[in-house]
């Protein structure tokens, strides 16, 4: 059984979640500066052909992040 804390790397294409926080503050600060704030919705669009990086939507625009960074974004879904 999975707990209710998940991260973006565990999402499925097309899934939408709400950002609850960041596992890694270093990455978190950079993401927040681009509008990826706790409380905002994040949509997993698709992954690169080799599985990494992935494309997500926040604030209505598309962002490319690596799985490592995606794993640092906690979500409530």
């Amino acid at each position: 059984m999975r707990g209710n804390v998940r991260n973006v790397a565990e999402m499925k294409p097309g899934e939408v979640g709400v950002i609850s926080g960041f596992e890694d503050q270093h990455i978190g600060v950079k993401l927040m500066e681009m509008g990826c704030l706790p409380g905002s919705t994040i949509r997993y669009n698709f992954k690169a052909p080799l599985g990494d990086p992935i494309c997500v939507s926040i604030l209505g625009y598309d962002l490319s992040i690596r799985l490592e960074e995606a794993a640092a974004i906690s979500i409530i879904s």
Binding site: L31, L37, A48, P49, S64, R66
Partner: protein
């Protein structure tokens, strides 16, 4: 109106906000690339005349999301905006915002306002905002923010005249900060303001936050800042997250008040559909490699026509000047040193212009970030970054602009590795060397419909690329560096390229290549000319007599005699002396002193090889007959030890491998020195590449002969 003060304007904004389009709209061709004082980052400056007759100097700063830099080129923004005491301090900061993504764009604006700089907000891409159904109360936004707001569409040029008029009016700095500094940092901020007399709290706070951005301060002042940081236990970055959240809280409230109608994402459907094809697991790569093939095709096929024209033009110029100018060392220097030197630079202009035009199109449409997206995982396996793809592709034209484009890579290790391996990509200067040697040793035959010579050329390019990748992998294993690598990159909506931007990029890149690389190539070609025109003793000045004595028994035409004199001169010049002295070192590779001279002269720039060969094999006076002559002379050259031809396949391949790997480009070394801030990396690169070339050529020659 020179009596009135020139207005200094800085353009800042998020990447992909259309900032460069706005810059091009305001300045047109009236722009240049320079360097910021004290730092090595390129500075794009343009000029325009405002409606009141005043002259404005506009600086285009790199795209950033906030005042906190993440890469080398981003740091320049805080370096410029934190320095309020220099002649370069902007009078007005124009913050360019993508109107379809106002929330993200406003973060930087609130930071600029808090720095106490007079600011103007430009809402760009109003056409897309309209398409997205966004409606904003601009008047209310302006009054709530306390800064003038101007909607424009830089792609069409609408709103530009209104913006120019707005710039003529005085802009006042904001009085009260949007984000007051936190209670915990008030003491160090006060200490700093008392010591250095900085304008306001936020500026002082950023002085403490960004130790590396204070290049404009004198070393004692920088020490004072460090002392305050230590004394008050100030840790940079501690409150950065909290500041961002607080600023976005303010921005959200502001947007709630001024947004009449929020965005409707439906307008992005088209772009998403394109992405499904361009990032498809099969089609994505097929299209990417097709685009690469197109780039190579254009560099190697389409660029040859203008290149031949340039070549002929410079040969004709040398020829006619030789007849006009009085004979003497000065006119020799001009016709044999300077003009061919300049010609050697200008000949690469078509390739560089075409390559950067194509790259600009890929960037403008938004495709380049998809290339990074597709290639990131593969590149990381070799210690590189998805963003290394652009320098590696550019390296096929010229390593110099390629190395400059690595500044966008924010991880130090990945950037150094990219810089280090980029010169292994076969640049256009190697092409003339490859062409002539391949023609000499590879039969002009077709196998299965493919030209053998074409395959050989292709093989050399792949070899260079393979060696770049292998070297990167080795460096990844060697360099120990615990710096986090990350890739957080916007994938912008696909758009048609704006041809004006593409054209201006081509002009700008070509211009900086001609001047930056040109200076060095020109200087070296003059030095080489001196080395090959003068020599110890009187052998050169009395060459005519010596040759006449030697050849008195055979009858020669005047032209043949001249050729022999030229060859004799080169053999006895300083260059010839050096060539002979390195012969023992290069003999195991299959080279003699004549090839040695060519290796030395092509240290400045590889393509000099062909010209040197022409001189050595005494065809200087009939060089205008073209490659065929050089080739037939080289083919006829006899190796006195074996009695067979000098350019056997073993020697030819050994030379080809040498030129593929060796670092023979002064300009590249100079750029690496500038970009890495020291001699460590250029020297390592020189030793590594030359060593690699030597050993590989040795192996090839010994195996083949």
């Amino acid at each position: 109106m020179s009596s009135r003060k020139r207005l200094k304007i800085a353009l800042v904004g998020n990447p992909n906000s259309g900032k460069s389009s706005l810059f091009n709209c305001l300045t047109g061709l009236n722009q240049k690339v320079g360097n910021f004082p004290g730092v090595t980052v390129e500075k794009r400056v343009g000029y325009c005349t405002l409606p009141d007759g005043r002259n404005a100097e506009i600086v285009d700063l790199p795209g950033v999301y906030s005042i906190y830099p993440r890469s080398l080129d981003e740091r320049i923004v805080s370096q410029v905006l934190l320095d309020h005491r220099s002649p370069g301090t902007p009078d007005v900061v124009v913050v360019v915002a993508d109107a379809t993504n106002l929330k993200r764009s406003l973060l930087l604006l609130t930071q600029v306002i808090d720095l106490g700089l007079p600011a103007i907000l430009v809402l760009n891409m109003m056409d897309l905002a309209a398409r997205a159904g966004i409606s904003i109360d601009i008047g209310l936004l302006s009054s709530k923010l306390g800064v003038p707001v101007m909607p424009v569409n830089a792609r069409r040029g609408t709103g530009i005249n209104e913006l120019k008029t707005l710039l003529t009016q005085p802009v006042h700095a904001h009085e009260s900060p949007i984000f007051p500094i936190r209670e915990e940092v008030k003491a160090p901020v006060k200490a700093l303001r008392d010591t250095l007399g900085v304008d306001n709290d936020y500026e002082a706070y950023l002085f403490l936050e960004q130790p590396d951005s204070l290049v404009f301060l004198s070393p004692p002042d920088r020490d004072k800042v460090s002392a305050i940081r230590t004394k008050h236990d100030f840790f940079p970055g501690k409150f950065q997250g909290a500041e961002t959240i607080q600023r976005f809280g303010y921005i959200q409230n502001l947007l709630n008040a001024v947004t009449l109608k929020p965005a409707d994402d439906a307008w992005k459907h088209q772009s998403r559909a394109i992405d499904r094809i361009l990032t498809h697991r099969i089609w994505g790569y097929v299209i990417f490699f097709a685009i690469l093939a197109l780039i190579f095709q254009s560099i190697f096929a389409w660029a040859t026509v203008p290149m031949e024209l340039i070549d002929e033009l410079f040969a004709a110029m040398s020829g006619s000047l030789q007849q006009v100018l009085p004979a003497g060392p000065l006119s020799d220097l001009i016709t044999q040193g300077i003009i061919p030197g300049i010609g050697g630079i200008v000949i690469f202009v078509p390739q560089i212009a075409i390559l950067f035009g194509l790259i600009a199109i890929l960037e403008e449409t938004g495709y380049m970030s998809r290339v990074v997206f597709l290639m990131d995982k593969v590149m990381r396996k070799f210690g590189l970054n998805g963003k290394s793809v652009v320098p590696l592709i550019s390296g096929v034209a010229c390593a110099i602009p390629a190395i400059m484009s690595t500044r966008t890579i924010n991880n130090w290790k990945e950037r150094i590795i990219t810089i280090f391996v980029t010169p292994l990509m076969s640049c256009s200067a190697r092409l003339p060397v490859f062409t002539i040697l391949i023609a000499l040793i590879v039969p002009n035959q077709r196998v299965l419909g493919l030209s053998l010579q074409g395959i050989a050329l292709m093989g050399l390019y792949l070899l260079g690329f393979a060696m770049a990748i292998i070297s990167a992998w080795v460096m990844k294993k060697i360099i120990r560096m615990r710096e986090r690598s990350y890739l957080i990159m916007e994938l912008p909506t696909y758009r048609w390229p704006r041809w004006k931007n593409v054209g201006l990029t081509m002009v700008e890149k070509t211009r900086s290549f001609v001047f930056e690389a040109g200076k060095i190539i020109l200087a070296i070609s003059i030095v080489l000319w001196v080395l090959s025109s003068y020599g110890p003793g009187d052998k050169l000045t009395r060459a005519d007599e010596y040759v006449a004595q030697e050849t008195s028994t055979i009858s020669l035409t005047e032209e043949e005699l001249e050729d022999r004199v030229a060859a004799y001169k080169l053999e006895n010049s300083y260059a010839g002396v050096i060539g002979k002295s390195i012969e023992p070192v290069i003999r195991p590779l299959g080279y003699d002193w004549k090839i040695g001279i060519a290796l030395i002269t092509s240290f400045a720039a590889r393509e000099v090889f062909v010209g040197t060969m022409a001189t050595i094999y005494s065809i200087g006076s009939s060089a205008d007959e073209g490659d065929a002559t050089i080739r037939s002379r080289m083919r006829a050259e006899i190796n006195p030890e074996t009695g067979g031809p000098r350019f056997t396949p073993a020697v030819g391949f050994s030379l080809l491998i040498f030129y593929t790997f060796a670092m023979q480009c002064m300009s590249t070394l100079a750029v690496v020195y500038r970009e890495t801030g020291g001699w460590k990396w250029p020297l390592l690169q020189l030793v590594y590449m030359t060593g690699l070339a030597y050993i590989s050529s040795l192996v090839v020659y010994q195996l083949m002969s």
